[in-house]
């Protein structure tokens, strides 16, 4: 069970949140090939370890934010806003 620190509401139970998957995915331009578009839509890093991901505080303030989280230990390494650049985090 995780306790997730919402940047607006503070630490709350995992049950209040929804994970939106990998973050910092740049949309390719509309002239891109089917292959590029397929990669953008479906291919993911899926690392065992440090992962940068989007979360929604669905049962709270309904705001999206980013987490840097370890996918094995579930330790949360960083919390930052949607528009912030990817932070420097060590595994």
């Amino acid at each position: 069970m995780m306790q997730i620190p919402c940047p607006w509401c503070g630490p709350r139970d995992e049950a209040e949140f929804l994970c939106g998957g990998q973050t910092h995915i740049a949309r390719p331009n509309l002239e891109s090939s089917d292959q590029e578009w397929g990669r953008y839509l479906f291919e993911r890093d899926n690392p065992k370890g440090l992962h940068f991901e989007r979360w929604l505080h669905r049962m709270g303030c309904q705001q999206w934010f980013n987490l840097a989280r370890d996918t094995v230990t579930h330790e949360i390494k960083a919390v930052y806003r949607m528009t912030d650049p990817k932070p420097e985090v060590t595994e």
């Binding site: 090939s33 578009w37 397929g38 479906f42 890093d45 899926n46 991901e53 996918t71 094995v72």
Partner: protein
Amino acid sequence: MSAILSMDRYSLFRLLREGLGGHTGWKPAWRTPDPKPEYDVVIVGGGGHGLAAAYYLAREHGVGRVAVLEKGWLGGGNTGRNTQIVRSNYLYPESAAFYELSLKLYEGLSKDLNFNVMLSQRGIVTLAHSRHDLDSVARWANAMIVNGIDAEVLTRQQVRDLIPAMNWGPDARYPVLGGFIQRRAGMARHDAVAWGYARAADARGVDIIQNCEVTGFLRDGGRVVGVETSRGTIRAGRVGLAVAGHSGVLAAMAGFRLPIVSYALQAMVSEPIKPVLDTVVLSPSTGVYVSQSPKGEVVVGGALDLFPSYAQRGSFRTTEDVIAGFCEMFPGLRRLRMMRQWAGITDVVHDSSPIIGPAPVEGLYLNCGWGTGGFKAIPAGGFTFAHLLATGTPHPLTTGFGLDRFHTGRMIDEAAAAGIAH
């Protein structure tokens, strides 16, 4: 001496003979060889799919030099972590043909492998809890019948006759209005499937190498020509990956990404009780499925932890949800104590269909994307993967399951038949 004769056959006569001799004549079911420097085919992953592929490579394609590399012990990943359910109740023709082959292979597997996989075709009942569920159940059963697979729509009373232990009271939170059954579905002993394939593959000369972790790929130009492992370098004509939830890790090692996200899927078993449930029950609305093992334990499977995870334990939040659904469906069992709870790391794909085909890197082949339903697919997954590894081209049954579907858009969306919400 042919390979099959060298297998130490199991039979009633053999059991009697060993019993009279004090059980001193049993040999290990497979060898523990050291890795050779080179093989025709190296399969990474000693779970059901990898072992089955090795067996069919030797049996169907006569490929002699095959190794299966397992970083831990055989069947210690998802093959030993699933809820043992076998079924072929899928919606689309490609999936129906594929999973039906798997179920048919399961039906002959104990005899084929000379190893009792304890297949029990006790049926799987999918429940409908609302008018809308009744519609989707009818659609599901009809799709199966169109594909030539057995399915029967059930009334409330028919479900009640099959599963009297459920909550049939007027105040049930999830009232059962009906459902459908695939009678040929059921369960098989998961460890036995891994061990049976391992023993039969070993008898045909396959080297099964445990405690051997792949740490990198050997390249010649762009092509993969072998693997670096914790037990040295092994060269190979072709390399197959059958590593389920860890497919993304191996893909990253080889320099590409996959349309896969790994999630933890949990299950739990109770203390053993007397027989109370002689079929498998799936409730798509509550996300809970229940069966009783031959030992008497009630096996409860549940939902995914819906965030990327490689933790083979599962979140307590999901455990609570699953148990709440289970207690509501089976009020008479709510005082049971759970003995064990665990999770397997599932390789979930957007359309809930597997990926069997060449990787973006030459010399490397994929068997992954099973998501929450890999166990039932083991025989057909192994059979078609063996074809791919022997010939370099997909088996006719799996031409639709390649990576190309993610840019052609020709998905085979089985999310509705996956049983577990993705």
